[in-house]
């Protein structure tokens, strides 16, 4: 069919997320293409699985609470020291 989306364009719309901002007609073409094309369905599935896996990886690899606590304490100590020395004139009245 003339003007139909091609696989090449589908992959670009998905990976760049352009499909999210596409118009209604484009999104309908996109859905229709996916219904008919198993290769593009596989591609979309791979992209989704990779995103989910990165979320899992980053969240389980999140720094442990002790590191976060120590960094927070060090930063706040620097803030209070800055206050005590009166540098920057940022002392707040309350």
């Amino acid at each position: 069919m003339n003007g139909m989306l091609k696989c090449h364009e589908v992959s670009r719309l998905v990976a760049s997320e352009e499909i999210a901002g596409a118009g209604l007609w484009r999104r309908m073409e996109f859905r229709l293409h996916l219904m008919m094309c198993r290769h593009c369905r596989n591609y979309v599935r791979h992209v989704g699985l990779i995103g989910a896996a990165v979320r899992r990886l980053m969240k389980t690899a999140a720094e442990d609470a002790q590191v976060v606590e120590r960094l927070e304490a060090e930063i706040m100590e620097a803030v209070r020291k800055g206050d005590d020395s009166g540098s920057g004139g940022h002392r707040h009245p309350h």
Binding site: K6, C7, H8, E9, S11, R12, V14, A15, S16, E17, E18, A20, G21, R38, H39, C40, N42, Y43, R45, H46, V47, L49, I50, G51, A53, V54, R55, L57, M58, K59, A61, A62, E63, V67, V68, L71, E72, E74, I75, M76, A78, V79, R80, G82, D83, G88, H90, R91, H92
Partner: protein, 199 residues
Amino acid sequence: MKGGEDQTTFSDPAFVERLRAGEAAAIEAVVHAYLPQILRAARGAGLDAQRAQDVTQSVFLTFIQSIGRFEGRSHVRTWLFGILYRKLSETWRAVKRENQADDIDDVMENRFAPDGTWARPPRAADQATLDAEIRAHLAACLDEVPQRQRLAFVLREVDGFSTAEICNVLEVTDTNLGVLLFRVRNRLRECLEKRSLKG
């Protein structure tokens, strides 16, 4: 969206004023809310644990020093991640130029026939196989991704930033961000497929 309450509180002009005045309690609230996210993003961009901690500390110290210039026009989180991005990109300058043309674009072009259909289609596999393959190779494949693409990807997929916020942090247009995301997703997909086929 995650952290919805904090997002609202931190946008409040009264809170922004307290921050600008350098009030310790206001700064502490921001540090407490965003330090874990900044640390995770630094790790996500490819820094090792120690360097990620150093950069995180440096981001907040710069934030505190420059707080008087914060006008509340962007969200405090965007301001913080902008500082992170500038610190990270100082170490990337050397590699930036070679990223202008990216070989992943050619790899993708070669996936398609001239009529726009797949010449080498993505591998079909069942869910369990794909999950296992991704789990086995994802960390190694992430290491092959240029840092700027990694950061864009992490902000999008892990932290759920909007397009506008990532564009603001990375100082790129919508179109540039689309290119970054296109490249990182395809680079990861190609790498995973190649490694899985090798076994």
